[in-house]
Structures are given as C-alpha cells and as structure tokens.
Assembly symmetry: C2
Homo-oligomer: 156 residues x 2
DNA sequence: GTAAATTGTATTGTGTACAATATAATGGAG
DNA sequence: CTCCATTATATTGTACACAATACAATTTAC
C-alpha cells in the first residue's frame, strides 16, 4: 500500500519534475525574449529558420512541425503573427500549391544578432555548470527518442 | 563565430530538450488519463488533493498554486471544470472570505484507485530503467530549485 | 481607528497545444 | 482519363499558461 501510494506522490513523478522545470526555464527566457518581442515557441521557430537560412535550405510548415514536434494548428497562427510583424514570409509554392514555404525576412535575419546573447545570459548566475547542462540535455534527448520510438506508429 | 552559432543551434539548447521531452511525456499520459477524463494539469491537481486528503489537510487555491507553480488564472477555470464534474468542491471560507478551499468529493477520492495504475503503465515498454528515471527526476528537481532560487524576488 | 499596503482569488486577453475536421492539390491504380 | 488514397496546410473548438488588472477582505502603520 505504501509503495503504491508513493508512486502517486507528486514529488516522485518524473513527469512533474519535467513539467515544472520546463516552465521554470521558459519563465527565465521570457524577459530576455521580451526584448525581441518573441514568445518562446516563436523563438524556437526562428532558431530553425536561422539555421536553415545559413545552410541555404528552404523550410516548409511541415518541416517546422517535424523539427519542433508541433502541428499545424499551433504553427499556422504562430507563423501568421510572425508574418504580420514582417519577421518571416509565408509563400505558397506555385508548383505544389499545398506547400507553404516559410523564410525569415531581412528583419528576421537581423534579429539573429540580438538573439545570440540569449543562451549566454540565460543560465549565468544560476550556478549550473556547463557540463551539467550538457549531460542533462543529452539524457533528455535520449529519453525523448525512447519515448518517440515506442507506442504510436509515427510522430504526429 | 562558429562557437556562437552553435549556441543558437536548436539541438544544443537544453530548453528545447526539456520542452520536447515534456510534451512527449504528456502525450504518453494523454490516452491513460483520457480513461479518467482528466487532462494532465487536472491530474496533477488531483494528485495534490489526494495527498492532502490522506494527510487530513485542507488545500486552498493558493496552496495548489505554490505546489504546482500555477497562478489563479490557470487554476480557477481548471478547478471550476473539476467542480462541474463533481470531482472536487470549492468552498469559500466563511471566516476569511478571500480564501477558497478545494477538496476532492467522494467521486474524486474514488478516482484515485484507477489512477494508481497509471505510473506503472506509463513507462513500461519504453526501455527506460527505474534508476535512470530516479536520477533524471532528481537532477531536474535540483535544476528547478536553482532556477527558482535565483533571479526573481520570489516564485510568482 | 483609519488610510495604505498586502493578500487571495477572479477576470480578461493573448498565445500556445492539440484533437478533429475540412479542403485543396497531388499521385497513382485501373 | 478518372476515381481514390495520400499529402500539406488551414480551421475550429477545448484547455491550459500567464501577464495584467480588478476587487474585496485583512493586516499593518501611524
């Protein structure tokens, strides 16, 4: 009885630790991203676009979805808000009209310069060492791949 | 240049690993919690209420907020939905009318029995060992406390 | 004892998440 | 060539998150 009860204790749940840590980190990002007028998911989208832009690759909405594990119901309005602010362009492919290609504008690309300071500023002062961050990140990536490998036929 | 660029690479960001892993775990919970007709945050609220109920303690909205790191804007509508389904009661304190005490109903308490199987069913088949889960959970808790200790004057 | 600050919850508005559904375009199978 | 499954995105609806604000009750300062 005691054992099963313990399993339901909030503090014993990995998921809650993940849930709380995720929101705590996002909360740390918020004031930094506010300087760029970006939300956290918008920032992630920009990261993907900046990377692709440097590699000379184009990015479709579905590519963003696969990379960030988000569906169109999340991405479409988010991208429209970024497009309204002239940070990205959304162009429907003329060959295959089902496809919408997303690219950063000059303004969007320029924002990358300011974004560069963010990772450095984020964790400084928290007393979390570099190697600890790397270890945790890799463990999370490993767990993520295990979670995604099992169960459902494929990622969304 | 290369170094700073790497810092902005999506795969090098702890925050994204956390963000993706959190949503992957929540997605794993979803079908299990659907059997109870609970969302994941609703489940967390019930966990807190079940714990307090066993300890004979009362829980105020602000207690839930502190424990789960959620504010009233999230909790109030969530608790109203649980109350609509007769899983919890929301009673305004007659002495201090600012206080609302939340408690599970008989129906809410009965649900605990079904919830017990969930932690066990969740990760079975993923190939993630028990000790690995514990280690990751403790590391996340440690990081969380460091994140919460610094910066802002206090937690929300 | 009363004004001011604090506390506890609620409300409003914006922005994700995601299931379910819709819609349009493409690529075969026949 | 045409029906049909598939693909890519968009739309709708529900439910968080959280900032900002509101407001009533309580506590503190004086």
């Amino acid at each position: 009885m005691k054992t099963e009860d313990d399993l339901l204790a909030l503090d014993n749940q990995l998921c809650f630790a993940l849930y709380a840590a995720n929101r705590a980190i996002t909360a740390r990002y918020r004031p930094l991203l506010a300087e760029l007028n970006l939300t956290y998911p918008q920032y992630l989208v920009m990261l993907v676009l900046w990377e692709a832009n440097q590699d000379g690759k184009t990015v479709r909405v579905s590519d963003l979805g696969k990379r960030l594990r988000l569906d169109s119901g999340t991405l479409t309005p988010l991208l429209k808000r970024l497009a309204d602010r002239k940070l990205v362009t959304r162009l429907r492919d003329t060959v295959d009209e089902r496809v919408v290609t997303v690219a950063p504008t000059e303004k969007g690309i320029a924002m990358r310069r300011q974004a560069r300071e963010i990772p450095g500023r984020l964790l400084c002062g928290t007393g979390i060492g570099e190697e600890r961050i790397v270890a945790l990140r890799e463990e999370l990536r490993s767990v993520l791949s295990l979670l995604e490998a099992q169960g459902e036929p494929s990622g969304r």
